[in-house]
């Protein structure tokens, strides 16, 4: 099934730049036309605007202890209420979201770049190098994400930086494996042989021709790993291994809120809802990308 579609893509991309854009375009188009994808994008835009614009949107300082009282319930003044130190929870949630997104995005991006490069090179070069790289990747994949993260935190000590490194670390093998598979599927196709015959250098062939055809599956994987990264970041800061107080994080807020469930339910529920919305949108998005980039599923 997928072989057929890849062939048409290959033929299209022969004709140059315009059709390459259209592969990306058709994927994006598919996401937007899918109701799930639309919901995911709207939700994510809302959350990203909130996170990026946090300094402007939040009327309160996330650290200043300047509200009228402790544990005020949600109101027009404090949308998410206040915490045990008279801080505004809406501001803290926004800034926490900002921190979580920043860590996840940066570390997944770094891990993806390294992983894809390893996978492409391994697949393209082949031989002993490929075998060695892939055995290493298998070994890395054998460690479940959180256990590997705990090991890295043990080495580097708790903190946001260590969490970021841990996430990049487990992003690498997943992408290396996928990128290698993509490379193997593409590298003997006519268009690659043609550009080789025309004298294109390997780097150009890999990143200019093959990478673009291998793009949609990598995108799906990236959305999926963003969800995992957000989850692991939150889980680790929930365990108290990622924070540098008084700076807020989504997991950290949930952790502290546990002690005050009796006094202030909104302390857990409001940041929790934002966190759940984020994960929900990321999961929907990866489903939507998956469907959009696989015509077989779309047709059903």
């Amino acid at each position: 099934m997928s072989a057929v579609t890849l062939d048409t893509e290959v033929q299209l991309s022969w004709w140059g730049r315009k059709t390459r854009e259209s592969l990306l375009f058709s994927t994006i188009n598919g996401i937007i036309r899918n109701p799930q994808g639309m919901v995911a994008i709207l939700g994510l835009v809302l959350l990203v605007v909130g996170a990026v614009g946090a300094p402007v949107i939040a009327q309160h300082d996330p650290i200043a202890q300047d509200s009228a009282g402790r544990f005020l319930s949600p109101s027009t003044e404090n949308w998410f209420g206040t915490d045990e130190l008279r801080r505004d929870l809406f501001s803290r949630t926004l800034f926490g979201l900002r921190a979580s997104l920043a860590v996840s995005l940066i570390s997944v991006a770094v891990g993806t770049s390294i992983g894809v490069t390893i996978g492409f090179l391994a697949g393209f070069i082949g031989g002993i190098l490929e075998a060695a790289a892939m055995r290493l990747v298998d070994a890395l994949l054998a460690f479940p994400g959180l256990i590997a993260a705990l090991a890295i935190l043990n080495i580097l000590g708790p903190g946001v930086r260590s969490i970021g490194i841990a996430i990049a670390f487990f992003t690498i093998p997943a992408f290396a494996r996928l990128a290698r598979a993509q490379m193997l599927a593409e590298k003997n196709k006519d268009y690659v042989l043609a550009s080789q015959a025309l004298g294109a250098r390997p780097v150009r062939i890999i990143f200019r021709h093959i990478a673009i055809n291998a793009f949609p599956p990598l995108l799906t994987q990236m959305a999926l790993l963003m969800a995992v990264a957000v989850l692991i970041t939150a889980a680790l800061s929930f365990l108290g291994l990622g924070d540098n107080p008084p700076a807020p994080s989504l997991g950290g807020l949930l952790n502290v809120s546990r002690q005050y469930l009796r006094e202030a339910w909104w302390y857990a529920v409001c940041p929790g809802a934002v966190f759940a919305l984020l994960l929900f949108c990321l999961n929907l998005l990866s489903d939507a990308i998956n469907e959009a980039s696989s015509p077989y599923q779309r047709r059903r």
Binding site: L146, N154, I155, F238, R258, F275
Partner: protein, 314 residues
């Protein structure tokens, strides 16, 4: 069959060795001198020298690894520098609550997930199927610790049905133990239940479309018999594999959810140890978690061989 099981065991050994080397090297990768780290800030020079001697840090790395592994097999995991207790004794008290939680969560996952998946799979696009889709979407999306906090608020704080924190051994007081287990088990198990349900649904739906199911129906068999005798049997093979594979994920989930309900277990142990930079404790906990994980994968492989003769034949 025996040969197949044996071969799988042999294949697991290199993975286990690699994993143990990784965990062993972890302590050596910590910036600084391991002996000084283990002695802590208050450690005197004699302490450092004693620890260096104990860990055999003067030997070569392979020698150190072999003696470390030998110690583990003899149950000697070293002494926690933060608490001054033997690590093996700390683990002995921390493991039972986590195992109880993981087993309870596993039961929740299987009892909820498999029937829901079967119902959704035999009647696609029915009410059951929509219930299933909604359930999986929510249950996979919401992480266990968030679900745990919400349940803690609703059932323990507001309704006061369950205790707010702690754990009681099932051997000491079964009723009280179950009361402590109920919420954490659901919080840990629901996500896995969703994975199992989704998987079961897909495989059943696939099998139900097969020719032999149509033949069975054409023979005039009752629908229940078609489902139980023909469809279920064949679709359960991959499901059993997934069930075994989920054990690792469940254990990791339990480690986090423990923190929500303040249960004393492996999770609390490892988190406190990382915060206190109690390296030996973390190292030992990780070795246990990784071994369970690899064991679960092995069990999945073996179960697959038992259930599907074609796999064995390869």
């Amino acid at each position: 069959m025996l040969a197949y099981v044996f071969a799988r065991f042999l294949q697991a050994i290199p993975v286990l060795v690699l994993a143990s080397i990784a965990v062993f090297l972890m302590l050596r990768l910590v910036p600084g001198d391991p002996a000084e780290l283990l002695a802590g800030q208050d450690g005197t020079d004699e302490d450092v020298a004693r620890i260096r001697e104990q860990l055999g840090l003067n030997d070569s790395l392979p020698e150190q690894y072999v003696s470390w592994l030998g110690d583990i097999f003899q149950g000697d995991l070293g002494v926690s520098f933060a608490r001054g207790l033997p690590v093996s004794r700390m683990l002995r008290t921390a493991i039972p609550p986590t195992v109880e939680l993981a087993v309870a969560a596993y039961l929740v996952a299987v009892v909820v997930g498999i029937p829901l998946g079967i119902l959704g799979g035999i009647r696609p696009r029915s009410g059951w199927d929509w219930t299933l889709s909604g359930f999986t979407l929510v249950a996979i999306g919401i992480p266990g610790f968030l679900l745990g906090i919400i349940m803690l608020w609703v059932f323990s704080v507001r309704l006061d049905w369950f205790p707010v924190f702690g754990a009681v051994s099932i051997l000491d007081d079964p009723v009280e133990s179950l009361r402590h287990l109920a919420l954490p088990a659901v919080a840990t198990g629901v996500g896995v239940a969703a994975v199992l349900a989704r998987y079961t649904r897909t495989t059943i739906a696939e099998v139900m479309g097969n020719d032999y199911v149509r033949t069975a129906r054409a023979k005039g068999l009752a629908e229940s018999r078609v489902v139980v005798r023909h469809a279920l049997r064949n679709s359960m093979i991959p499901v059993v594999t997934v069930m075994a594979l989920q054990v690792g994920g469940l254990l990791v989930g339990a480690v986090i959810v423990e923190q929500v309900f303040t249960r004393p277990g492996l999770g609390r142990l490892v988190v406190n140890a990382i915060q206190a930079r109690d390296y030996l404790v973390v190292q030992s906990t990780l070795i246990i978690l990784v071994t369970v994980f690899i064991g679960a994968n092995l069990a999945a492989d073996i179960a697959y061989g038992f259930l599907d003769p074609r796999v064995r034949g390869r």
